[in-house]
Symmetry: C2
Subunit: 154 residues, 2 copies
């Protein structure tokens, strides 16, 4: 996978969380993912289909972090991951992928997005099964971690 694919997703998540919740996620070092190491409590997933490539993206949050994002947005803090939270994670997934799609479209990489799916469950793991390199981008915040994973088939 071209390294140009990484930054648009990374920038897009930081922008979305900063705009929606006035919170600053600190990006860690993007890495090739060889095992299913990004564990979390709620994940948004979306498929991408372009004329030359197809793939999948996931954004995984630890529970305390996504609850705080909701808190900062609405002033109220749910005690657990409810349907409002999964709706929010679906929206974030759409916005991050849409933001990256625009940035990548400017560079000539085109794809269309499917619709998001949100998974909840303590410590679930995600395996992207496209036959291509898997990139994992970790993000940290005092409330917890988040991870973007993308995988494209050439």
């Amino acid at each position: 996978m071209n390294v140009e694919f990484i930054n648009p997703f990374l920038i897009s998540l930081i922008n979305v969380i900063s705009t929606m919740a006035s919170m600053e996620l600190k990006p860690g070092k993007p890495q090739l993912k060889s095992h299913e190491i990004a564990k979390g409590d709620v994940s948004g997933l979306i498929g991408m289909v372009g004329p030359k490539t197809k793939g999948s993206l996931s954004i995984t949050f630890e529970e305390p972090l996504i609850l705080e994002i909701m808190h900062k947005m609405l002033g109220e803090k749910p005690n657990f991951i409810n349907e409002e939270i999964t709706d929010l994670v679906g929206e974030i997934t759409n916005m991050v992928t849409g933001g990256a799609k625009n940035l990548l479209g400017d560079k000539g990489y085109e794809f269309n997005m499917a619709t998001p799916v949100v998974v909840t469950g303590k410590n679930h793991t995600i395996s992207h099964k496209a036959e291509g390199k898997k990139i994992m981008m970790p993000f940290s915040h005092q409330y917890g971690s988040a991870y973007i994973e993308i995988c494209f088939e050439d």
Copy 2:
């Protein structure tokens, strides 16, 4: 969502499991899904993008059922959900969606498939966030249950 969309997925899963593992899944009554009720231990998810529609599919298995499917295919039974099992669930997701795509293409409904993602985690739940009706198709077997869920945006 058109009811014509349901049977191709239902038939396709029954065929795939019958062909790969000589096991007969019994279909229950397809239903509109209003809550996140299909819980399971391993799920394959895939995005679909067509000129007129986009959506998502998930296939969720309870652990004893997917372990028995692997047993019937290979003669060996893993004790837990390992990478072989998630690879198998990714393949089943591809095959079922590909089978349904062919049947639906014959009827003039076209879509392209993204690549599958597999989620593992005890009792996780799946929420499809497309703005359209969600259809849930339950399947039963003496070893456990499986569920297909599809959601398309018009």
